[in-house]
């Protein structure tokens, strides 16, 4: 197809004959089914709602749950942000962002504050979320107890009867093996003091952001066919022992680029001599701070923005 035609296709109205995809990729009945599952999930915070997960253009394990959630709720007035491990510019985040730009005719952004829908794998942005924003999480294994209890019937009964002693067994194992609760990601939480939930593999550093947030949090697992949600202003508590209370990660270093000392830092190996630096995982947060004039010790190393022109 010529580039002119491509542009035409991309900018055609939702229901005009030039459109090559159904709006949002999924058919209307599927979107309706997913929205109904979402409503149910919001009505029962933390409860895993089964849904008819569709075959998507990427295989299971690549974010099909998150993609289907976004596809069901996205509209032409939305502004879409997609991050993977906190960064907007990793391969998968770029792919998904482009996908929705094409099939939903939406504006996209890297700016957390501008976005109305933020799809994420493995992080919650540093910038506090606000009323009207929706986080969509990609979830590999929605069942927090699966590692210890392989039987589906048993875990369903445990959720139904609020029998969550088993989750503490996993924390116990941690403490006995490592002297502390060493789980760093996918740390189990109690939602609204009723349902035990896996917050998806976000670092425990992000767990406090789930609590009493102004935003709506949606979780989708495509392979396992489950959707769950945390409505705004919901109590979310990370599990712990009385004598081993929940603690988030702390770093001795600050961000090498923007000097932030309150964000989640990634460790980057610089050379074969073992030189390393710590950088904000949230790429936009970091660039935003640098734009405001904050500078860390390695600020001279400009990270090349590969994608800056591609999205235009």
């Amino acid at each position: 197809m010529s580039s002119q035609a491509t542009d035409a296709a991309r900018t055609a109205n939702s229901n005009s004959p030039e459109r090559y995809y159904t709006y949002g990729y999924l058919d209307e009945q599927t979107k309706r089914m997913i929205r109904r599952a979402i409503l149910k999930a919001i009505a029962i915070p933390g409860y895993q709602v089964p849904f008819g997960s569709r075959e998507m253009p990427v295989p299971y394990g690549w974010g099909t749950g998150g993609i289907q959630l976004t596809a069901a709720i996205i509209g032409p007035d939305d502004v879409f942000k997609c991050i993977d491990q906190g960064a907007d510019d990793t391969t998968n985040a770029v792919s998904i962002r482009r996908f929705f730009a094409k099939v939903a005719d939406v504006a996209t952004t890297e700016d957390t504050a501008e976005a109305t829908i933020i799809q994420s794998r493995h992080r919650i942005p540093e910038h506090p979320l606000k009323d009207g924003q929706i986080m969509v999480f990609q979830v590999p294994q929605p069942e927090p107890l699966r590692g210890l209890e392989p039987r589906e019937m048993e875990t369903r009964a445990m959720h139904a009867y609020e029998e969550y002693g088993l989750q503490y067994v996993s924390l116990y194992e941690n403490v006995s093996a490592f002297g502390r609760i060493a789980a760093t990601a996918g740390y189990p939480v109690m939602v609204d003091e009723r349902y035990l939930m896996s917050p998806s593999p976000i670092p425990k550093f992000d767990n406090p952001k789930l609590h009493n947030s102004q935003a709506l949090m949606l979780f989708g697992a495509g392979r396992e066919k489950r959707i769950y949600a945390i409505p705004p202003h919901t109590t979310v508590r990370s599990l712990d022992f009385e004598d081993y209370p929940f603690e988030t990660q702390k770093w001795e270093e600050s961000c090498a680029l923007c000097a932030a000392d309150d964000s989640y830092l990634d460790e980057v190996v610089l050379d074969d001599q073992g030189q390393r630096m710590f950088v904000c995982s949230d790429s936009h947060y970091c660039s935003d701070r640098r734009a405001q004039g904050f500078r860390g010790p390695m600020a001279g190393h400009e990270l090349v923005d590969i994608d800056k022109d591609a999205d235009q």
Binding site: L171, Y172, S176, F241
Partner: protein
Amino acid sequence: MTLTAQQETVDQADQPLLRVHSLSKHYGMITGCRDVSFEMRPGEVLGIVGESGSGKTTLLNCLSGRLTPSQGRVEFNASRHGLVDIYNLSEPDRRRMQREDWGFVHQNPRDGLRMRVSGGANVAESLMNLGRRHYGDMRQASLNWLNRVELDLSRIDDKPRTYSGGMQQRVQIARNLIHAPRLVFMDEPTGGLDVSVQARLLDLMRELVRDLGLAAILVTHDMAVARLMADRLMVMKSGSVVETGLTDQVLDDPQHPYTQLLVSSVLQI
């Protein structure tokens, strides 16, 4: 034991702990167990003996809330509800009662343990299921119990996969006693073990039952185990109880032809 505690036990001993009325379980035309009735008091050990196909395992499963009977009632004096028909409880209530008031020692430790979780965690899980949330206390309680069942404490953080059969069974026993249940069900608890291991385990179990004043229902096909452990016996054949009475009476003066056959069949060494 002080005199007052003992007096309490005596008074309590008049309250039935378990009352079973005409319990039957049928699988279509096949009878699992038929018309079983009996009572149990705190501190009593009841042995159910019979050969394969006698219905003893079916009976045990009906008694322990795992198999809904076709007819009859199982009434248990639960700590939370008092004397109650266990099949009238809602499923969450029954499951909670099983966790709080009962223990169940399986013949195969794989059925009664989590093999991928450490020995210590297996034992402490009973406490976590009751809502305990202090790691240090639970670990200490777990250690105390593993010590009591004579497990090498250096192995507490190893997985039961790495234990011998006798060790696995010890962990199962500890896991089922740490929460001070009122009633423990045991299904051939020493069935698959070497003779010397079995002897030591039975000894241990006998001591624990006596020290804790436990009530226990023990299913076995081994008359020697029954003689050692049980105060009373019920002999089962083809789904029915053919004889019941004090252990020494049933084994020394069996009345029913089948009991006489069983007793005379036991090999003497």
